[in-house]
């Protein structure tokens, strides 16, 4: 068993040093820290980072706007009905005898 472990470790060690090219930790590390390619990746990342927030924010904003519009329409309808003399029947403390 011990021989097998040593053999495995030596194999990995040999394979690591015999690799023809360097392996990068990420797919875009080859672009470096500066330069046009790095700038391009940075701008793209910023854009894609902002995209979900924009999308979700837009949908939430649309829902909020629709809700506000619906509530305003309902209030207007109620006011019109009251002005026309259409009062909704409801409990009134004076009329209930209390």
């Amino acid at each position: 068993m011990r021989q097998r472990i040593i053999f495995g470790l030596v194999s990995v060690w040999t394979a690591y040093f015999s690799m023809p090219t360097l392996a990068y930790a990420c797919s875009v590390c080859w672009a470096g820290d500066t330069g046009p390619t790095a700038d391009a990746f940075n701008w793209s990342v910023i854009f894609l980072m902002a995209a979900p927030y924009t999308v979700v924010g837009s949908i939430a904003g649309w829902l909020f706007y629709t809700h506000r519009r619906s509530a305003a329409k309902h209030e207007k309808k109620e006011k019109n009905e009251t002005a026309k003399g259409l009062v909704h029947l409801t409990w009134n403390p004076k009329e209930s005898g209390r």
């Binding site: 046009p36 390619t37 700038d39 391009a40 990746f41 701008w43 793209s44 854009f47 894609l48 995209a51 979900p52 924009t54 999308v55 979700v56 837009s58 949908i59 649309w62 829902l63 629709t66 809700h67 519009r69 619906s70 309902h74 909704h88 409801t90 409990w91 403390p93 209930s96 005898g97 209390r98």
Partner: protein, 221 residues
Amino acid sequence: MVKSSTARRLDEPLVGVEHKQPVFGGGEPPAPPVRPNAPVGSNAALAVAMFLGAEAMFFAGLIGAYIVFRVAAPIWPPPFQPRLPIGVTGVNTLILLASAVTMRWSLRAVRANDRKQLIRLLATTAALGGIFLAIQGFEWIRLIHFGLTVSSSVYGGLFYTLIGFHGLHVLGALIWLLTVFVLTQQGRFSKERHVGLQTCCMYWTFVVGLWPVLYGLIYLY
């Protein structure tokens, strides 16, 4: 010394229970008036909004890829590649924006129960969308003739991918719009029930709203 106590024996009867019993004519008040809990929008509209969110993310991915190639390129467009027709496409942009306006007006028409105006506006929108697609197709044929193909360069590949997908979306929106147009002629939509038209309007607005972004990014930047 404690004058009165709130404590009571367990076997002691509750004070004033008889007064709390509902009595005919002046008993317990009914529940206070509650504002009707009507939904602010239809489920279909919400589903289309979610779908448009997914569509927006799809285009965001494509635009992200475009930004990588565009910003990294020292010369853009690459040498020996044809220039894109900015003027004609600018006019085409105005046509598409006009179609969004007529589409919004059609929604207003259905809410006003004006069926004739609705049919007229939907036909105008469909015609404007058709003109947009026809001009785009004509420009594509010219560009292919000048040597800009999908495989000619990254420039060509990105152009046809982004603009092509948008064109497909316009085509899909146009098919949807024509379906809505036929349904309108059959009298399926009214002031109270027009969710099919509303969702179509949402999709059309999205497709139109996306185009100026693509035009600015690909044609002008």
